[in-house]
């Protein structure tokens, strides 16, 4: 058991960031003990650094004293990633939120880690550009957090997840050294791809403090299409065909019957038809969109889609987009607690996964509403229960275990975009071989020999 922080250490910490950026007050510590998962851990101190140098000094000191350090962005995470399980210091990067520069010739933007994705996009939209990754939390999540979890979102089906848009990262290592990794060029095979190693490492290897991101032109137009299906196979088949025909949708979402019922109740619009709905968006030039729309419609029809409807204008686009965005609030309104999972399978195995979810729901008597990014095979089963009731918690736990096991059996992964954190730590063995896990542990050991950065996460150490 680690000893409590020494007063001399606390004084030095305060000296580094200044008293207004530092707190050991119980009130400030308690609010950093949670994220949106069930994980809990109270830090001994919270700091809000304003510069890279402060973070560097802080890590040097923490490493010397073997004090755990947990970097944190906005903390909307569903995995327990930024929860300080072993106490120590939480570094909240929210106050480092400067947009440093925009390079319109290379289509790159240089930002501090505490910038919120929507803040970056508000800046870029004025230049006709955008940063494509769109996690549901984009209005609050920091770019540092998105990088550390390799966040995705609805439009990842066309634009990919965060790593596709990261050129270079400024990081601080657990020992306090600062360095840039990655490249500003569009191509590079120079050495190990260190940026890719850090992306998605959930703050266990380094603290991301700045990033140079690629950005892209806002598409000329966007159009949405919806279709209902009477069975999962048809919806899955339609998804698979749209993806494999190279129609490259920018959104490809699935909503099951239970979720549609919840949305209908929540919004007042009636979406209760059949077993499932697919919601598809295509974007690009007007010509391109007009060319793709009939092909998508045809594919939907061929796969027994019904009530197929193409949004006529921006207002109808927004209506359909809003219905999808209402999925989580609508499901959450049905129970006290709503756990969102993100098991991901190959697109071709989706019907099996969806049927398994139904079976698991019945087996454990747990309501599960499923929606998600079906074009990526990344679905979100939402498990509804009352966290105050022990028997319900136990049933949900068993259901989640079986969801993970099923996804892995189908050749999938534990998490498509939420991350491992604490919540899925114990399941890493299901997905990764002992050799692969050992390799991860060796990397962690090489970079963070004293295990001070975000310890207890990702099943590492």
């Amino acid at each position: 058991m680690r000893k409590k922080l020494k007063q001399s250490f606390i004084d030095q910490l305060e000296g580094i960031v200044g008293s207004k950026n530092f707190s050991t007050n119980e009130i400030d510590r308690i609010v950093y003990s949670r994220d949106a998962s069930v994980a809990e851990g109270v830090p001994e101190a919270v700091v809000w650094p304003e510069s890279v140098d402060e973070i560097s000094q802080l890590l040097f000191l923490a490493n010397k004293e073997r004090v755990p350090v947990v970097p944190r962005g906005a903390g909307p995470s569903l995995s327990g990633g930024p929860v300080p399980l072993r106490g120590g210091i939480v570094i909240d990067l929210s106050r480092m939120k400067k947009i440093i520069s925009f390079n319109e010739k290379d289509l790159q933007i240089h930002v501090e880690a505490g910038c919120v994705i929507t803040q970056i996009n508000n800046f870029l939209l004025k230049q006709g550009m955008f940063f494509p990754p769109d996690p549901a939390s984009q209005d609050v999540c920091t770019i540092g957090g998105a990088i550390s979890t390799n966040a995705g979102g609805m439009r990842a089906v066309k634009y990919g997840v965060t790593d596709r848009w990261v050129q270079a990262l400024k990081i601080v290592l657990p020992t306090g050294e600062k360095t840039w990794i990655g490249t500003k060029t569009r191509k590079s095979v120079s050495g190990y791809n260190l940026a890719k190693l850090i992306i998605g490492s959930e703050g266990t290897l380094a603290v991301v403090v700045e990033a140079i991101l690629s950005v892209y032109f806002v598409p000329e137009t966007r159009r949405m299409i919806k279709a209902f299906f009477n069975d999962f196979e048809s919806a899955g088949q339609a998804t698979f065909q749209i993806m494999s025909k190279g129609l490259n949708p920018s959104i490809m979402e699935f909503l099951d019957e239970y979720t549609l019922g919840a949305i209908s109740k929540y919004t007042g619009a009636n979406y209760c038809r059949g077993k499932a709905m697919l919601l598809i968006e295509v974007d690009g030039s007007r010509d391109e969109v007009e060319r793709k729309l009939p092909k998508i419609e045809k594919t939907l029809k061929e796969n027994k889609g019904f009530e197929i409807e193409v949004a006529a204008d921006d207002e109808e686009n927004l209506k359909l987009y809003s219905a999808r965005k209402a999925a989580y609030p609508a499901l959450a309104s049905l129970s006290l607690t709503c756990d969102v999972e993100d098991a991901t399978v190959p697109v071709s195995r989706l019907p099996e996964m969806l049927k398994s979810i139904e079976r698991i729901s019945k087996k454990y008597g747990v309501y599960i509403g499923t929606f998600g990014h079906v074009g990526d095979g990344n679905i979100h089963p939402n498990l509804l229960y009352d966290e105050r009731k022990k028997n319900e918690r136990e049933k949900v736990e068993k259901a989640i275990n079986e969801l993970f096991e099923t996804a892995i059996k189908l050749g999938g992964t534990l998490t498509g975009e939420h991350g491992i954190g604490k919540a899925k730590s114990n399941f890493m063995k299901l997905e990764h071989s002992p050799e692969s896990l050992q390799l991860m542990k060796s990397i962690k050991k090489a970079i963070d020999p004293n295990n001070i950065l975000n310890p207890g996460k990702m099943g590492l150490m």
């Binding site: 009130i27 609010v31 950093y32 209005d139």
Partner: protein, 371 residues
């Protein structure tokens, strides 16, 4: 346990801790510390409920630093009623006298003098209009407009007079009591409302037109209308009706670019967003440019916490001005005397002024000169 926080359990547990309130909480925008946003405050109340923490000065600060602007409720995906949770928590805390001294003092002052300014004041002569008939239109001026900004009230009353709209005012304006409700002094609030209602009852209004949005909300939501049912509207709703029915003639062209700042009580509380914009659109020469944060997403001027956190209030008002300045407008318009007060305090640091909406109407009618 001293507090019966168990009653709040279900509401507290509805918070999924997603942190989406970070995008909207204006106080958090200033502090950038989790303990100053809705998620943080609810987590603190939860920890108190679970007896993991006790009540400290810092706890009281966080609970009372919320302006109750309801912006967090707009972005909350699980529908957490933060304003209600905080009101109920404050009610329990106030019972134990665990509220900031400034608020206790403010309540004492209101009880003694009838208004938030702390001295007994007669209603300025220009605001006195006698009641000549039963079931008429009472203009409830409220203490901020009556004693702090009588010229705003006068503009509105002069407009009504010009178009021969029948109305009357009370002989003395008193605080509506909304502030007591917001700080958790429920018993004092109930007593105060009864006293105010008594005064209103004696003149049996059919309609109450309030100048201050907080008064509108208080009179609408918390005053028992069983004896003499009356309708409550805000002045902008009356102005809009009079303009649309052509009783008010907007003749003068003003040639101004303006942004409208939505007061929390008029906007998020009473859902009156379009009415002031409609009025502005009907004034010749006015071009409305929306603030970056507007309507449901509007910031708060910081008024409710100005006595305990003046530095936060300053930053909140400054950020509204910064937003307006970036839009390149000539004026910032609002329709709440309290918002006006807070924004006016910030206006000295910007090359931009704040104006009450009724004044713009009066200017376009030719009642008031353009300054």
């Amino acid at each position: 346990m001293r507090f019966h926080l168990k009653d709040l359990e279900e509401d507290i547990l509805k918070c999924s801790r997603c942190g989406f309130c970070r995008a909207s909480c204006p106080v958090f925008e200033v502090k950038l510390n989790e303990s100053w946003n809705a998620r943080g405050r609810i987590l603190l109340i939860r920890n108190l409920m679970e007896e993991k923490i006790g009540i400290s000065e810092e706890f009281i600060n966080r609970i009372y630093s919320c302006t109750l602007c309801k912006a967090c409720e707009v972005t909350c995906p699980t529908g957490v009623k933060t304003e209600d949770i905080l009101l109920r928590t404050r009610k329990l805390m106030a019972k134990e006298n665990l509220l900031p001294e400034q608020f206790r003092e403010m309540t004492k002052v209101i009880m003694e003098t009838g208004n938030i300014y702390g001295k007994r004041m007669g209603l300025p002569e220009q605001l006195k209009f006698k009641n000549k008939e039963d079931r008429g239109n009472l203009v409830f001026i409220g203490c901020v407009a009556a004693y702090g900004y009588p010229e705003h009230a006068e503009n509105f009353l002069q407009i009504l007079k010009r178009v021969k709209y029948k109305f009357y005012t009370l002989e003395e304006e008193r605080c509506c009591g909304g502030i007591m409700k917001s700080i958790g002094l429920e018993e004092e609030f109930s007593r105060w409302v009864k006293r105010n209602l008594g005064r209103i009852e004696t003149c049996k209004p059919k309609k109450i037109i309030s100048i201050c949005p907080m008064c509108s909300h208080t009179l609408k939501e918390y005053v028992n209308k069983a004896t003499y049912p009356f309708e409550v509207v805000h002045e902008v709703e009356v102005l809009r009706d009079l303009i649309e029915s052509k009783k008010i003639k907007l003749k003068k062209k003003l040639d101004l670019k303006v942004s409208y700042f939505d007061p929390c009580h008029l906007g998020r509380y009473l859902q009156v967003f379009e009415t002031p914009r409609r009025i502005l659109s009907l004034i010749p020469g006015i071009e409305v440019i929306e603030l970056g944060r507007n309507k449901q997403f509007s910031r708060c001027c910081g008024g409710p916490i100005r006595s305990i956190f003046p530095e936060i209030r300053d930053k909140l008002s400054d950020s509204i001005f910064q937003d307006a300045e970036e839009k390149g407008v000539d004026l910032l318009v609002t329709s709440c005397p309290t918002c006006y007060h807070n924004l006016y305090a910030s206006s000295v640091s910007f090359d931009l002024e704040v104006i009450d909406l009724a004044e713009l109407v009066a200017m376009s009618m030719g009642i008031k000169e353009k300054t």
